[in-house]
Symmetry: C2
Subunit: 123 residues, 2 copies
DNA sequence: CTCCGCCTTGACGTGGACGTCAAGTCCAGT
DNA sequence: ACTGGACTTGACGTCCACGTCAAGGCGGAG
């Protein structure tokens, strides 16, 4: 299939696919007319990239998963490097969530206080 | 005081202060030599901007707080517009935290599963 | 032949909050 | 007089994941 179909079936755009290729995440054979030619395995790679990117993984962090699939594994997370990214991501998410919760609690407290001041006499 | 001192005392840089001025968050009198001249009230504004920006507020979201101080209130959150930003921020934070928690749980599950597969026979 | 849709590369634009550099001005100290 | 530090404006660079536009090529339908 050509790039348009791959984009459509992968739920993304041709621009994004060329961008992934520029990063070395995707590779492509060229047909006689110079156009990129893809197969079902490439669609698998695109799906892996998208599903990870959609939940907030940086494209660089999808690289081990893509490589893992290229190496013939059935899933992108069957390799140590991918699992390591999982671990790091969970740690990052934990830290991020904790920080946001602290900020939320702080803002909530400020909100409470400000509302208190605007209605000084009971109510 | 001049911009260098204000930056130092406000825990930021001269570049940032000029940027705030370009956004209309900060204003400045010019001395005879064309240099910016600030007072303690300006330092108060800078502190307000920084304390909000440091916890993730966009600069635009600090505008009501700055305006509130300019209007002579003792705190930046003594005005309805500021309180409204607080409310919106809490809602945004709640949504963001929920999303990140869902992602974290999903990644955790994937991690568990991947580790399971790599050690198939008990252990 | 012409049109349309698909493809190609190259390059600039986006957003947010500045960093960094250039070239010049101004003032205090020695 | 000179040096050094602080100041001025203007403008380009950064990060990330593309969006968007330009200018052109290629193939099939009518």
């Amino acid at each position: 299939m050509r790039i348009g179909e791959l984009a459509r079936r992968g739920g993304t755009t041709t621009r994004a696919l060329r961008y992934y290729e520029s990063l070395g995440l995707l590779s492509s054979r060229r047909g006689a007319n110079g156009q990129r030619e893809y197969d079902e395995d490439d669609l698998r790679l695109v799906n892996e990239i998208r599903s990870l990117a959609d939940i907030g993984f940086a494209l660089e962090d999808t690289r081990p998963f893509v490589q893992c699939l290229r190496d013939g594994h059935r899933t992108g997370d069957a390799c140590p490097a991918s699992v390591e990214v999982y671990r790091r991501k969970v740690a990052e998410l934990d830290a991020c969530i904790s920080r946001l919760q602290a900020v939320r609690d702080q803002v909530r407290a400020q909100l409470q206080e400000a509302e208190q001041r605007s209605r000084p006499c009971g109510r």
